[in-house]
Amino acid sequence: MSKYDAIIIGGGHNGLVCASYLSKKGYKILILEKNENLGGLVHCASSLKGFSSKILNDLKINLPTLNYKSYVVALHSDQQHTILQENDKNNINFIQSSANEENQKKFSSLINKYKLFASTLSNFMYEVPPRLKSGNSEDTWKLIKMGWKIRKLGKTNMREFLRIVGLNIADELEDNLSDDTLMGLLAHESILGSNLGPRSPGSILSLLYRQAMQNGLFTSEQYDFHQLIPSLEKNCINQGVDIKINASVKKIITTNNQATGVILKNEEKIDAGIIISNADPKTTYFDLLGTEPLDTDFIRRAKNIRTKGNIAKLSITLKDKPIIKNIEKEKMNAKFIYAPGINYIERSFNASKYDKYNENLCFEFHHCANVIAANIYYVPYVKNTTHAKESLIQQSINSLKPFISNLEIENAELLTPNEIEEKYHVTGGHWHHGDLEIDQMLMMRPFYGSAQYATPIKNLYLCSAGTHPGGGITGINGRNAAKKIMGDKK
């Protein structure tokens, strides 16, 4: 008998959540983390929006909440910035804006419309999505229930939902707004993290989905994000989970189409009844498992998941706390966004479309003391070559320069998508382990034949962001995978 019931490959937040749920039910778990620190891509995130409170309740973890609402600042090159804040009722307050009242009103009503649709989508988050073509009555019933949830929006809203669900955000914004900054702001929120431009079909769905996962669009930080991983780790250890760091898995061992253990890079062999991979689906199938026991059609679908990352992570240490031109000191607790219009972003997206140099960088950043943490896009993942990193850093700094009056840099570090891939072992350096688009969602996530957290290999499961409901730091993937595994073992 092996010492462990299950091995979890990858100590990211989903792996830790999955381990917590399973160990709570008496499973003996081993977590293998390749890096020195647990948490994986969480270290790349700059805030913790929308980690599932349901999970924290289930696991009885008390994360300190932050009880202030931060601002959202859409930067403008003429220094007439737009500042807004989401109030307690999740409504938008315009603190400062050059947009006229009609635009402001329409902006708010758009957000409210999306909020309604997002709440419909959020119903699906905690469910293992149904299988297609299974002929199983439970799956059919689930599908009917999903349809019913959408129908429950009412006739007008359902029609509107079905109208916009495949639409691009640019069309929708141009129909409703005329203010470039507001349009840019919403377009930014729609495409961030996926390989989409404002004019790409499905960019509205991507926005709705983010809203559904984060429980609001501009919500402030709910939890102290630095506490997440240590708390999850402590919880795991208390429940008897073994955690091994610097333990890189070389291969998942299979016999007769059944996973039976793993081999580490140092050739150590560890057996377990269940293997759960928190690596992204491509890494799991192509590197860890190997294609030998997989059907050609399956390999094709795995190969075709879109996992091209396009966000670079920039961290700048300044001599002093940054001062943003035309922003009062008390409003510095904000997320600053520079995406000044749909056309600007779309032109920036050309860099990803044609794999070329980006002249129109977009970015968002926030600061913590004198460190600025920024997400720069589009910096597409490149194959067989490297980014001209020094000039990319310089270009990013030049883009920030017009807005920060005391930009005296002590240190600047940049992680390109290629480096994110290497450091966190995420194919394409993609935040969400794969674009969140209609064909890579729900029962199609990561792809047909591999959804529902299971794989064609018996006792091999997935729990990463590549599964339903998708990326972001929610922990729901880990929870759903644990539920699925416990259900299967009954």
Binding site: N256, F286, T291, E292, T296, D297, F298, K303
Partner: protein, 397 residues
Amino acid sequence: MNQTNISYKQPLLETPFHAKTQERCYAHDWHRWAGYKVAKQYTSAELEYTAIRNTAGVIDITPMHKYSVQGKDAKKFINKLITRNVDNIQPKQVVYALWCNEDGFVVDDGTIFCFDENNFRICSGERNLNWFEDTAIGFDVIIEDISHSIAALAFQGPLSCKILHMLNAKNIENLKPFCFDQFTINNQEITISRTGFSGDLGYELWCEPLQAHNVWDALFSFNKDYKILAAGLDALEMVRVEAGFIVVNADLIAAEHALRPNRMRTPYELGLAWMVNLDKEFFSGKEALIKQKNKGVEKKLIGLDVQGDKPAVGSVLYNESKNKDIGIVTAAMWSPSLKSNIAMGYVDKEFMKLGSKVLAEIYHPEELEYRKIWAQCKVVKKQFITLERRNAVPALI
């Protein structure tokens, strides 16, 4: 000739044998095959058929797709690809194989030549490069489309061995079925395999395009006495139906081509269960095929002995009370050798058993009018013709 630039802007390519085939192609009846033109009939299909069954026929099969599979994992790759097991394959052996998609539906069939552990060649009727390359992801193999760099002739018929023997192909009579070797003919070193599509004694000759004319001429050099003929694809179709061989996209729709999912076929439905080795650790489609084997098939490709002399081309098959259609004919002909009316087709599972009786609804064209015939058919084995000389070693010389 190493043309690979097939384009809709230019006429069909000519095979390396074209100068020779066109001399003989009295009918100028060309058939389009994979970007090439090859003779459909030279003079008359029946005459060419008669040559294949009585002397020998030479068929230009150059347009066949050929892929070289090379690398450390070549054998492993083949084993993953096809439904049969090639663990014990030896160099200079050929296997006939099927490959299936994840639902167990046949993607294509073909012959696989083993040069050594790390070097195979796959010949198939349809294009398969994409399928092979996707199957090979993660395997240490290089797959190359070498269709255009190899000229090929099928040389089929009872005199084929004799003529090769007279051409000093050393020890050709002892070449076993589904084996191949290097031989020198007319000073040309070429590869000859004892394979073919006729169900008769026969060989396939593989050479470089530059050798093509030499090889062609050599085969015809004893024609004063032996009267072998160049045969077209129509004659080939006749012999293959008699032999019960299937043609992808004629008797079944290739899984990669079918638009309607219920048109795809598994090996079990094709009556090729013997080609599926479920003991093998893994191959593409294994899970689905295990399921189908346990569940049994709903329809099956069988042979039909049709009453009368009117070929049941495209006929719908009915039960004996004519109130339910139970299948369809995929290939039908009057067999000159058997002197009987034969067909291949699908029937529902109630009629799969040998000896079952079904009715074929034949619309026989008679000078601008159709005569409708209800022909009694008996379900028989697909292999209508079995010739001892086909597998005899030493072969007939």
